[in-house]
Symmetry: C2
Subunit: 215 residues, 2 copies
């Protein structure tokens, strides 16, 4: 009687609202009621379209994963021919832009951060589907940057060190703003982050062998 919007896109609206709310509140604290309210839908919409709260969460990840994969497809194509140093920079730039700027889906990054702090049952599928492919891609670049005989474990550890810098700088914004106030979280700031992490990490992986020797 009241409104009965019926634009036929209720499912999609719920999905988008869920993205925002889950990112802001986390899985536990996010409530179905707030999601459907933001979506302008009825309380039952979630259970109707996604069976239950978990189903909604899962559907959200699937959709985000699809979209991210498409957006990366061509970005990675262009990198393939570059020398590893440039490829590392391009990779870093892509990650930082996606995590720091990206007004399109600001909730994706936060969702991941959340899963790391408070892992839900989703973490396994998240790693398998989303994180590992990107990790392996970066690991290939790192391997190309290091001496021929470098062990696989060392390569993966170094890759993790690089990922760590990106993830931390992107999501510890509140702290870094106070500790390194010169670092702004805008387009120029992202470029500065890329430069720093690239230089720091290149210096590290290139000279790690000699560091080991001098032990």
């Amino acid at each position: 009687m009241a409104e009965h919007v019926d634009n036929g896109d209720t499912r999609q609206r719920v999905l988008e609202a869920a993205g925002e709310v889950f990112a802001e509140k986390g899985f536990e604290k996010a409530t179905i009621r707030e999601i459907v309210e933001r979506a302008g839908a009825n309380l039952n919409a979630v259970n109707y379209y996604f069976r239950d709260k978990k189903g909604l969460y899962f559907a959200l990840f699937e959709e985000a994963n699809e979209r991210a994969c498409r957006s990366e497809q061509d970005a990675f194509e262009q990198m393939r021919a570059l020398p590893p140093e440039q490829r590392l920079r391009a990779h870093l730039r892509h990650m930082f832009r996606h995590l720091v700027l990206c007004r399109r889906m600001p909730w994706q990054a936060r969702l991941m951060a959340r899963e790391m702090i408070e892992p839900t049952w989703m973490l396994d599928v998240l790693v398998k589907q989303f994180i590992r492919p990107r990790f392996e891609g970066l690991a290939c670049i790192v391997r190309d940057l290091m001496p021929a005989g470098t062990s696989d474990l060392t390569v993966r550890l170094c890759t993790e060190s690089i990922v760590a810098q990106v993830v931390h700088m992107a999501h510890a914004r509140g702290v870094i703003n106070q500790l390194v106030p010169e670092l702004k979280y805008d387009a120029d700031g992202v470029e500065a982050m890329v430069e720093h992490v690239a230089m720091f990490s290149l210096a590290a992986v290139r000279n790690l062998a000699s560091e080991e020797r001098s032990l």
Copy 2:
């Protein structure tokens, strides 16, 4: 009538049980009922001694913060005389042990991680009281490791890169377990983390200048 323990240490028992439960479940998912059950206390104990659940949480934080500060006092005293390389290692070891092992309070890391995503009024005091002092201490070591003329901004960025590795490895355990399964989260694993981060970061800060030149 049933038991009426009345050992007079109910408050302390609740505090310790709360540490365990908060660490295992996180703030939201931890329930007062489970805490008091483990403590062998009554449901009302939390509200009686700490006003409410938040009060208990913050009391726990204050107590842990005090304890951590005391435990660092002498640890840092011993480092002062060491050469910067050894001091970095000692610092890293201290951080990793505190974040990864240390059954007492792994929940501190969680509180911080949460504050970074969802800053509340706690973040400012947390940075001022807890994070910044440690950051500055590490920055001093980094400065000693780098060439004389290195800019302050560069030193702080490098410090942040080191912090990033520690924080990330400590709190993305669920992901790293799958990406670098060789890295165990026990005493030996911590030693391996210290070694890797030390080598990676030493190679980085020592050779950053030459990396800049070769740009």
